[in-house]
């Protein structure tokens, strides 16, 4: 099974990636100015209190000792205790993660639903008014900051027209779809703009390819040509882009979750950074890295299914 071998190779390649991520994040948080002990004890604490807390947190130990502990504990599934939340990092992250994943999947689904059909319409009407209109609208989506779009949507659709709630994330599945609609759209507007441009260009390229012209000449029904020949081939580069934009989308949640008051890991990351909560920052970064790696893996697998030539490389 070539597919299984390929998957295994990809998984093994993730190990050095993770080691590197751990080293970088470990050093980066410690390079940040600002002392976690002060962040914990507050500005009002005495210098003696600060020293005691540093000692308790193990921050006075040599750097390599701290790293060794971080590495061995992480390998045993122990991410340490969050300083800010006074609870195990793993529990804190796991409690917030589903919300962010829900938001990400929702946003990606919306992006595809928006970008896919519009890319087809634009490509099939290349140069006509439909094409120009679609591209102009998406250009606006691309050039506006995410938080700004979010605030505009909030002000008009939620606060004035009261079509959607201003914040929160709901309890049931349907409730969540409703609550997270605006944040998802906000993220999706940006992602779908990138996807649409790429997919449109790819479709145009494929439409001009000889095999498509041949299929047409053979008299295959247009539906079959578009579905089997055009879409499948145009998707290859778009899938890569989709994978990459999911990585970007994860960082976009930092802003979106704050604006829309969605209690996910993006907002948690901001809180952790401000509090210099080293264990929590490390745990969250690892989680982000894991998620993004998994997405890249899935992208590669999907691509290799679309284009068997990929499996050889």
């Amino acid at each position: 099974m070539a597919g299984a071998q390929y998957t295994l190779n990809r998984l093994v390649l993730m190990i050095p990636t993770f080691l590197l991520v751990m080293i970088i994040i470990f050093l980066l948080v410690r390079l940040l100015p600002g002392d976690p002990a002060i962040a914990i004890a507050g500005d009002k604490a005495s210098d003696a209190d600060i020293a005691a807390i540093r000692d308790k947190l193990g921050l006075n130990a040599p750097l390599w000792t701290q790293f060794w502990l971080f590495l061995t504990n992480t390998l045993q599934g122990d991410l340490g205790r969050s300083i800010l939340m006074r609870a195990p990092v793993l529990d804190v992250v796991l409690a917030r993660l589903p919300t962010t994943i829900f938001l990400a999947v929702y946003a990606i689904t919306l992006s595809i639903l928006i970008a896919g059909p519009l890319a087809f319409i634009a490509a099939l009407n290349r140069g006509k008014w439909q094409d120009n209109l679609i591209r102009a609208v998406f250009q606006v989506g691309l050039s506006m900051p995410v938080f700004y779009i979010g605030l505009i949507l909030l002000t008009f659709l939620a606060a004035q027209l009261r079509l959607f709630p201003v914040g929160g994330y709901g309890d049931t599945f349907a409730d969540r779809l409703y609550h997270l609609f605006l944040p998802s759209v906000t993220v999706a507007l940006y992602t779908s703009a990138i996807l649409m441009r790429n997919l449109r260009a790819a479709i145009i390229e494929v439409l001009d390819a000889e095999y498509v012209q041949f299929a047409r000449a053979k008299g295959l029904p247009p539906r079959l040509i578009l579905g089997r020949h055009v879409l499948k081939n145009a998707l290859i580069s778009t899938i890569t882009l989709l994978g990459l934009s999911i990585g970007q989308l994860m960082s976009g949640t930092l802003v979106t979750e704050t604006v829309f008051a969605v209690p996910g890991v993006g907002r948690l990351m901001l809180e952790a950074i401000f509090a210099r909560d080293y264990p929590l920052i490390q745990g969250l970064t690892l989680t982000f890295a894991l998620l993004v790696s998994l997405v890249f893996l899935m992208t590669d697998l999907f691509q290799s299914w679309l284009d068997p030539r990929m499996r050889l490389t």
């Binding site: 600002g34 002392d35 500005d43 005495s46 006074r86 201003v166 008051a261 907002r267 809180e271 401000f274």
Partner: protein, 532 residues
């Protein structure tokens, strides 16, 4: 003019609030209040609460022995119905109110008081134990509590009205799972439910970083205007909305009833909305900037701000009213005491404290021989619109003195580290009293051994001696004299850029009455009611 309009609005809303509290029949019982917070609680426990979102909620879940009177100037009984201080100031006796209960209906006894106070003054536990260091022992005989002090402490009674001495149930606490005190406290908070405290509410739901629910304590001892026990509300639902704009939108969309920490730029607009009462609650919050007074900077270069005259000059050259207009849209006032807000007890009104006087400022820098073009760094909070405005204004205001002001933007944790290490010239800062007594803020800003006079390195022997003497001075008049003198010394030495006091801006739906944020910041819900 805007300031005047706001003041009228405030007076009006306060008057309306007072009116509804007094008209007993109008109070509606029951219902849920939805409250949008700027940040969430992590652990609401009397001794571990160390961040404002925790501290300010303690009073809703736990009661103290005494409490501040309505005007905040005095102390009245709470769980204790009476108290007495011996002539030598070394013994305090209190008598517990008859029949006070925890929120599960179990009786609150002297044993619980001893347990709670011993816990509060244990230096191995919470960060506030130092405030109770004068207490040598706590004993209970039935409902009679005796505190024996090693030295007289004029602030002690105030401490008994402060969150860290709130009473917890010994039985509930000891039964909690956990290897040590902190683990037990965290476990109790995570679990919630009645029985731990005797405040107007008990914690009935908590989701880290998301929401928190308080339910009415049916056994609370205070009665409302209708003669039935407080609180009026049945539940309070807190949501955490860190973004200012979103919090305001939540309120205007009617999804919440109260939104706190309204940006001052939005106050006038919300004040004009008839569905919203825009409250500016008086606070003990002061905004100031510590000035490094050390002879040299940490990099070894000479520090121009070590010269008192230069510090005085920048204070004179700072137009506080203009700053208040720019940053607070007029909703504030210049500091009138150099070491505390005007709402703090024993504050001396020295206004105008360094009133704007550019000529005097120029004369002072000339006298000090300040080189034209001297570079001074103002460290500000990155991302803070207020700080950006302050920097731009100060840069212009100080330019005529020959000072070239440069900005350095950092985040809160970095600023805290710089304050401790002395790696700054001037940086923005703020303070809210935690204790209803001037000793805490005065110690923080001026007493060198506490924290090097808020990191400025200012070390004045007379001030330090006065502060130490005032800490055990039981004669109120003598203590007031000591405080007056300390404020004079501090104002003259100017280790700070004295800026302004700001109120707590809280927007409340017109459907809500009786909500209050105290000058210390505590959120008070016991008399809040909502009409649906």
């Amino acid at each position: 003019m805007k300031a005047a309009a706001l003041a009228v609005g405030l007076a009006l809303s306060t008057a309306l609030g007072a009116f509804t509290i007094q008209s007993a029949d109008a109070v509606e019982r029951g219902g849920t209040l939805n409250f949008a917070r700027y940040d969430g609680s992590k652990l609401v426990d009397p001794i571990y609460a160390d961040r404002n979102p925790d501290i300010w909620m303690v009073g809703s879940l736990f009661s103290t022995l005494l409490e501040p009177s309505a005007d905040g100037k005095d102390l009245v009984g709470s769980l204790a119905e009476s108290y007495e201080v011996s002539a030598d100031g070394k013994t305090v006796t209190l008598k517990l109110r008859d029949g006070v209960k925890f929120s599960d209906g179990s009786p609150l006894t002297g044993e619980d008081v001893v347990f709670s106070l011993d816990r509060a003054r244990n230096p191995d536990l919470g960060p506030w134990a130092g405030l109770l260091s004068a207490i040598a022992s706590v004993e209970a005989d039935g409902a009679n509590i005796t505190l024996t002090l090693s030295t007289p402490d004029p602030a002690l009674l105030s401490m008994l009205a402060t969150f860290n001495t709130a009473i917890v149930s010994k039985k509930a606490f000891e039964a909690a799972p956990g290897a040590n005190d902190q683990e037990k406290a965290a476990a109790l908070f995570a679990k919630g439910g009645p029985g731990l405290g005797s405040g107007p509410f008990f914690l009935s739901g908590f989701e880290q970083g998301t929401s928190m629910t308080f339910s009415a304590n049916p056994h609370y001892w205070k009665d409302g205007e209708d003669g039935k026990p407080l609180p009026y509300l049945e539940r309070i639902e807190f949501q955490i909305i860190p973004d200012d704009a979103t919090r305001v939108l939540k309120l205007t969309a009617g999804e919440v009833d109260i939104a706190e920490f309204i940006p001052f730029s939005r106050v006038a607009e919300l004040d004009a909305d008839p569905a919203i009462d825009m409250n500016l609650f008086p606070s003990t919050r002061i905004i100031y900037s510590p000035i490094n007074t050390r002879e040299t900077r940490t990099d070894g270069s000479p520090n121009p701000l070590a010269d008192k005259r230069v510090r005085q000059a920048i204070n004179y050259a700072t137009n506080k009213d203009a700053l208040i207009g720019l940053v607070l849209q007029g909703a504030g006032k210049p500091m009138s005491s150099p070491v505390m807000s005007s709402a703090t007890r024993l504050a001396t009104d020295m206004s105008p404290l360094y009133g704007y006087d550019l000529d005097k400022a120029k004369a002072l820098v000339a006298e000090a021989g300040l080189e034209p073009g001297t570079e001074i760094t103002l460290t500000t909070l990155a991302g803070s619109a207020d700080d950006a405005t302050i920097f731009a204004a100060l840069q212009q205001m100080w330019a005529p003195l020959g000072i070239s002001l440069v900005a350095e933007q950092v985040d809160g944790a970095t600023r805290g580290s710089k304050n401790r290490s002395g790696e700054f010239d001037i940086h923005t800062y703020g303070w809210v009293d935690d204790v209803n007594d001037p000793s805490q803020v005065t110690g923080w800003l001026g007493y060198y051994p506490t924290r090097k006079a808020v990191g400025t390195g200012w070390n004045n022997a007379e001030f330090n001696t006065l502060y130490e003497a005032s800490s055990s001075e039981m004669d109120p008049e003598k203590r007031a004299d000591q405080y007056r003198r300390m404020q004079e010394i501090y104002a003259e030495a100017a280790p700070l850029l004295f800026m302004y006091e700001t109120p707590f801006a809280v927007a409340v739906s017109a459907k809500v009455d009786g909500y209050l944020q105290t000058p210390l910041g505590n959120n008070v819900f016991e008399r809040a009611s909502v009409s649906r």
